[in-house]
Symmetry: C2
Subunit: 475 residues, 2 copies
C-alpha cells in the first residue's frame, strides 16, 4: 500500500534525480553544503542508496567532509566497504574523521584487515584523536556495550557550580553526542553521579553540582550485552546510559537513538532465529546470495537431519502402518499439531526471556502452566478431530486413537517447547538459535511414537488381522 511509504521517502523520490544531478555538477563544496542544509542526512543516504556505488562515492567526495560523514555512516556496511575501496584510504579517512565514533569503529571492523589498517593509518594523519578512539572502541566485540558507546560525552567535577556546568555545555555541546545528561566524575574520571540538562536549567545557578546530582546512577560495563543495555534503558526510561570499567571509570556513553536501532535489530534477529535460520547482519536485499544461502541452508540441513529420526520411528511401527493404511492419513495432521503447540510455547518463553519477563527460576511455574494449557488445548483439538475422523468414514477405535494421540501430542508439544529453551539457556546456549531444530525433531518423533504406540495397543486385533493377511499372501 502506497500509504506506507513515508512522507520523506516520497519527497526523496520526487527531488532525487534533480538533486543527484545538482550534486554531481556542483564544483563548490560550500555551495553543496547550503543546498543540503535543510535535508536530514538519512534522506540523503536514501538517495545515495538508489545510485550505484561509483556515483555515490563521487557525490560524497564532492561534499564537505562534515556533511559527508553523517551521510556515509548511515549507509550499510557492504556499501560502505565498496565506497572506501573506490575513494582510497586518504579520501575515505577525511570522511571517516567526521563519522560518529561507534559507526567508524564498526566500519574499520567490517573492512578486510588490510584495507582497515590502511584506513586507520590515513586517519592517524588526518585526525590522530579519532584514530585513537577508533582503536579503543574496536577492541570491544560487536553486540556489546563497548561497541555501541561513544567517547564524546560531557562531564564535570562535583565541585563546579550549576552555571559553570551550563557554560561547559554551551562550549563543548557542539561535539558531544548527547548534551541532555552531564556526567559527574572525580579527578580520576570515576563516575560519581549524573545530572540532566533539565535539572541543571531548573536548579539555582550558584548551587554546586554535588548538591543537584543524582548519585544512584545506573551504569553498564563495556562487556555487557547490547540486549541487556536496551532492557535497562527502556526499563528506566533513560536517554543515555554511562559505561564504566571495573574501576568505575567512565569510558563512554550509549545514547537512546543507538538503542532504538538495537531493539529493532534484536527483534529481527529473534524472529529470524525462531524462523529456523541464522540471523542476518544486513537487510534482505543488502545480504549477498552466498551469505543468504549459508545462513539458511546450514539450519535447513540441520533441521532435515534432525527429522531423519521421524523415519526411524515410523520404521519401528512398520507392521502397524502396513496393516492399517488409513493411519498414515492422520500422520501430517497430528505431527503438525505437536509442532504448532511447541512453537507457540517456545516463542513465548524465548521472547519472554529476551525482554526479561521470564526467568530461569520460573521453570516450575512454567511447566505447570504449560501442562494445563496443553491439556485444555489438546482436549479441544481432540473434539475437533473426532468430527473429522467420522467425516472421513473412519470411526470407532480409530477415532479414539486419534483423539487420545492429539491430546497427548499437544501436551507434550507445550511442555517440550517451553522447557527446552530454558534448559538450553541453563546450559549457556542461546535458546533462540538452538531451540528450533531440537524442538521440531523431538516433538515430531515423540508425536509419532505416541500415535503409533496408541494405535498398536488399541487396534491390536485389526493389526493382527492385517499381518495375517500379508503372511497368507507371502508378502
Amino acid at each position: 500500500m502506497e500509504t506506507e511509504l513515508s512522507h520523506q521517502k516520497q519527497i526523496a523520490s520526487l527531488i532525487g534525480p534533480d538533486l543527484q544531478r545538482l550534486l554531481r555538477e556542483v564544483g563548490d563544496p560550500e555551495l553543496a553544503r547550503e543546498l543540503l542544509e535543510d535535508f536530514h542526512p538519512e534522506d540523503i543516504a536514501d538517495l545515495l542508496r538508489e545510485l550505484d556505488s561509483t556515483d555515490a562515492a563521487e557525490i560524497l567526495k564532492a561534499l564537505p567532509d562534515d556533511v559527508a560523514g553523517p551521510i556515509f555512516e548511515r549507509l550499510e556496511q557492504p556499501t560502505q566497504s565498496v565506497i572506501v575501496s573506490i575513494l582510497g584510504p586518504e579520501e575515505a579517512a577525511e570522511i571517516a574523521s567526521e563519522m560518529a565514533p561507534d559507526d567508524r569503529a564498526d566500519l574499520i571492523e567490517a573492512l578486510p584487515d588490510e584495507v582497515g589498517e590502511q584506513l586507520l593509518d590515513a586517519l592517524e594523519r588526518v585526525d590522530p584523536e579519532a584514530a585513537r578512539e577508533t582503536e579503543t572502541l574496536g577492541r570491544f566485540e560487536e553486540g556489546t556495550a563497548g561497541a555501541l558507546m561513544t567517547p564524546d560525552f560531557l562531564s564535570v567535577t562535583p565541585r563546579k557550580t550549576v552555571s559553570e556546568a551550563i557554560q561547559m555545555v554551551r562550549q563543548k555541546g557542539g561535539q558531544a553526542e548527547t548534551v541532555y545528561y552531564v556526567f559527574v566524575t572525580n579527578d580520576s574520571r570515576r563516575l560519581e553521579g549524573v545530572v540532566s540538562l533539565r535539572d541543571l536549567l531548573l536548579a539555582e545557578a550558584q548551587a554546586s553540582i554535588a548538591e543537584v546530582m543524582t548519585t544512584r546512577v545506573i551504569s553498564v560495563q563495556p562487556e555487557t550485552d547490547q540486549e541487556e543495555v536496551a532492557r535497562q534503558m527502556s526499563k528506566y526510561d533513560l536517554l543515555a546510559m554511562p559505561v564504566v570499567d571495573r574501576y568505575q571509570t567512565l569510558v563512554g556513553v550509549i545514547t537512546a537513538d543507538d538503542i532504538m536501532d538495537v531493539l529493532t535489530e534484536e527483534g529481527t534477529e529473534d524472529a529470524q532465529k525462531l524462523g529456523g535460520m541464522e540471523a542476518l547482519e544486513n537487510s534482505y536485499f543488502a545480504t549477498s546470495f552466498g551469505t543468504f544461502l549459508r545462513k539458511r541452508a546450514t539450519w535447513l540441513v540441520v533441521l532435515f537431519i534432525g527429522e531423519f529420526f521421524t523415519g526411524t520411528a515410523l520404521r519401528g511401527y512398520d507392521e502397524v502402518l502396513g496393516a492399517i493404511g488409513s493411519l498414515a492419513f492422520y500422520l501430517p495432521l497430528l505431527i503438525s499439531a505437536g509442532g504448532n503447540s511447541g512453537s507457540q510455547s517456545s516463542t513465548l518463553i524465548i521472547r519472554g526471556m529476551a525482554v526479561g519477563d521470564v526467568k530461569l527460576s520460573d521453570w516450575w511455574r512454567i511447566a505447570v502452566r504449560e501442562l494445563g494449557i496443553g491439556l485444555a488445548m489438546g482436549l479441544i483439538l481432540a473434539a475437533v478431530s473426532v468430527g473429522r475422523v467420522y467425516m472421513w468414514g473412519d470411526k470407532g477405535l480409530l477415532a479414539l486413537v486419534v483423539a487420545i494421540s492429539v491430546t497427548g501430542i499437544v501436551v507434550m508439544g507445550c511442555v517440550v517447547g517451553a522447557m527446552l529453551p530454558l534448559l538450553l539457556r541453563r546450559l549457556g546456549l542461546d535458546p533462540a538459535t538452538s531451540s528450533a531444530p531440537f524442538i521440531a525433531s523431538l516433538v515430531d518423533v515423540l508425536g509419532i511414537v505416541i500415535y503409533m504406540q496408541l494405535a498398536k495397543m488399541l487396534l491390536a486385533s485389526a493389526i493382527q488381522k492385517g499381518i495375517e493377511l500379508k503372511a497368507a499372501t507371502g508378502h
Copy 2:
C-alpha cells in the same frame, strides 16, 4: 544464569522486605517520600510486583500522590485494575492525577466501562485538566500515535528570542515530559518548526527563534500506527516526535522512552504471531489462563483445520501409499523440509516489511531471489536425502523420487513462504497474523501432492505390482 539478573534487581530483592515493612508502618507520607527519594520508580514498582495487590494498594495509598503516580503507572494493567478496585475511585483518582497522561488514558481504557467512568468523574473533581486530557487521548485507538503522545510539551512562537525560550524552559520544564525539544507554533498552534535545547544553548541569547529553528520538521498524525512512528524516530534518530492533526495543529509529542517500549512490544508481537498465536497484551505471567487459552487455542484450531487437507491429499493417493509402504516413512521428513523453508522465507519477508527493508513493489525481485535460493537449498537437501535413502536400504527409483521431491518442495516452500505475506499485505491484512496457517497448510498439502505425484509417475510398475497383489488376496 544469575549474572542475568540486573544489578538493580539484586538490590531490590535485598532491601525489598525491609522497605516493604517500613513503607507499611510509616504513617507520614513525607517521611516515605524522603525514604524513596533515591530509588527509581521502576524499582519500587518491582517491589510492589512481589506483593499481593492489597498490600501494594496500601503502600501506594500511604505515599504522597506525586510519588505514587509514577510508580503506579509502571505496573501492568491487570494489577492496576485490581488496585483501582481496592482503592476506590476517590483514592485512585488522586494517584491517577499524577500519572503520565498517556498511561492514565490507557488505564481508563483498560478498566471495565463503569469503573472507568467513576474514576474519570472522580478525576474531574481532583484535577479537571487531567480529566480533559484523558478524554482527548482516550479517543485514539491503542497502537496509534494518538494513544502514545503526551499533551505536556513545550512550545514557543517564532517571534520570541532564544533567551526568552530558555527562560520558558526553566519555568515550565518541570511539568513537560520532554524539554529537549521546544516546538515552534504560530498563534493558532500550527507547527512551524522545532529547536532542540542543545541548539538553544549554543545560540546567541538575543537571536529570534525563527532564526535558529529547523523548519523541516518530521511529524506524524494521531492515526499513524505506532510501528510507523517507531520506524521514523529510529531512522531519523529523534528523541521526540511531534503529532499534528490534519490542520497541522500540534496536538502532542511522543518521546523516545515510549518508543523503546513500542519497539520491544512490536518485536514480541511479531514473534508471537510468527509462532502461530495471537499476540498477548501482557507478559507471560501477567496473562490470565483464560486469555492465554483463547489466544493460543483459536489459532491452534485454525491451523489444525487447515491441516485437514493433508489427509484429503493423502487419501487421493491411497493406492500409491498402500502399494509401497516405505513411501510413508519419508512423509514427515519431506513435509518438514517444506515447512522449514517456508517459515524462513515468510519470517524474512514479514520482518523485512515491519522494519521497512522490504516493500510490496519489490515482489518480483523477491520471487526471483527465493526461486534461486530455494533451488540451491533444495539441491543440497536432495544430496543429503539420497544418502539417507541408501542408508535405509531403499534405493534406485525411490531415491530419485525423494531427491526430486525435496528439491521441488523446498523451492515451493521458499516461493509460497515469501509471496503469501506480500499478497496478504496487498489485500490489506496483517501478514504476521494471517500468514502462519495459510503457509503451513498450503506448503504441507502441496508438498504431499508433489511427493505422491512423483512417486505415482516414477514408481508406476512397482505400484501396479502392489495393487495386483492386493487384488489377488481379495483385499
